[in-house]
Symmetry: C2
Subunit: 215 residues, 2 copies
DNA sequence: TTCAAAAATCACCCAATGGGGTATTGTATC
DNA sequence: GATACAATACCCCATTGGGTGATTTTTGAA
């Protein structure tokens, strides 16, 4: 079985080089080459890649946005971000967009092939400089650990609705008006939400909601 | 120049094996082997390592705690965490304690040597499985980046004191008692603190205080 | 189908919190 | 001496948090 790789890369030289390397190596097929992310959905559907090699900096839709979208619609596709950036902000945005690995643009071809193979097999290749930034991010910080899997707080639909309005900054009275229920009922829902989220104030609840995408 | 490596590891077999490998390889010296972290300060001062190889699971002080302490007192020493854990919580605690790299216990000796060399030269080696957990941590999360440097909020001493008591969970009344001032004065201070921190609730203030070490 | 559990609704009480203002005193600093 | 600021203290009032109890509706399981 060959690994099907799609390339998103605005630089034609790099694009062609990557395509040549992939097609010239046993075990890899380049199933699509795209200069930007503007038609990503069609591109992905028609090329059916196993792995996407994504450039961060592209005209139109950025690689970060495209990564986010592919990740949403085709979560089974692994995305390998290639970057030249020393820009922490971009790196962390890319991390949050849900890529499977990070490789530097000036890594040699064999590193590229290794990394593609690694993500395809469920691994998570990270280039040294990205790894350093990531470790630096955690170092001496109290990162709030949201143990994955326990993000289901069993909020009812109504409770989610109320929480959403809280996140938007409404007070009890306006929430009551918007939801067509009484002030006291809003308060009851909020109390239940607090219990389920294990928090004791509006701001904590809002923070948890945003961090965990509950809103 | 040889790289001086100190080993913290409770398993004698592993400990001896690592020591033998290090002393048997050109470029590396094992300057100390310790079965636990109970005397870490003396151990570090006397062995003067460049790199510490740290086991997470140790009797007495855990590797995470010792890492934190070494990082506080001897920030120039690089710490390479070795772990068998699949335990996300431990991994992230270790990440936050400020280690420089992460290696798996069942990695082969040459990986160990490579990793030691890498951290010594300012790199950040991460084993595949740790990398995966780290990427998973960021995936699809809105990680809040606290821009370092803007942490001076010009709180007065009294205000810091009050904030500290707030972090400890005291309410206005007990803060008033502990500080020998009136309830209303506490409220005034709290209002000033909120303005200076640009927050609007106790929990936000406490969070900011903890994140930025203001308490 | 019936019964129990959970969700959604509403109400009342009370304490704590947050935001606004005002005011006095002392201590710097200019 | 004037100005600024910290620390102290009090007032009013809206909002929030926590507890208790109740009715109705929905849902799921026996």
């Amino acid at each position: 079985m060959e690994i099907r790789v799609a390339i998103f890369e605005d630089n034609k030289l790099v694009r062609d080089a990557l395509e040549a390397i992939l097609n010239g190596t046993a075990g890899y097929t380049c199933c699509g080459v795209f200069a930007d992310g503007n038609h990503w959905e069609n591109d992905i559907k028609r090329s059916t890649p196993d792995v996407v090699l994504m450039d961060i900096e592209m005209p139109g839709l950025s690689g970060i946005e495209v990564t986010q979208h592919i990740n949403d619609l085709f979560p089974e596709i692994k995305i390998l971000i290639q970057t030249v950036f020393n820009d922490s902000e971009k790196i962390f945005q890319a991390l949050c967009a849900g890529a499977s690995g990070y490789i530097l643009k000036n890594d040699p071809p064999n590193k590229y092939l290794e990394a593609i193979n690694e993500v395809y097999n469920g691994g998570a290749p990270i280039s040294a400089s990205v790894a350093k930034k990531v470790l630096g991010f955690f170092a001496n910080k109290n990162v709030v650990l949201t143990s994955p899997g326990s993000t289901d707080y069993q909020l009812s639909d109504r409770e989610k609705e109320i929480l959403h309005l809280m996140v938007e900054g409404h007070n009890y009275k306006t929430i009551a008006d918007k939801s067509f229920i009484s002030y006291e009922t809003v308060r009851t829902h909020v109390k239940h939400i607090y219990r389920k989220l294990h928090v004791a104030s509006r701001s904590e609840a809002v923070m948890k909601a945003i961090q965990q995408g509950l809103s």
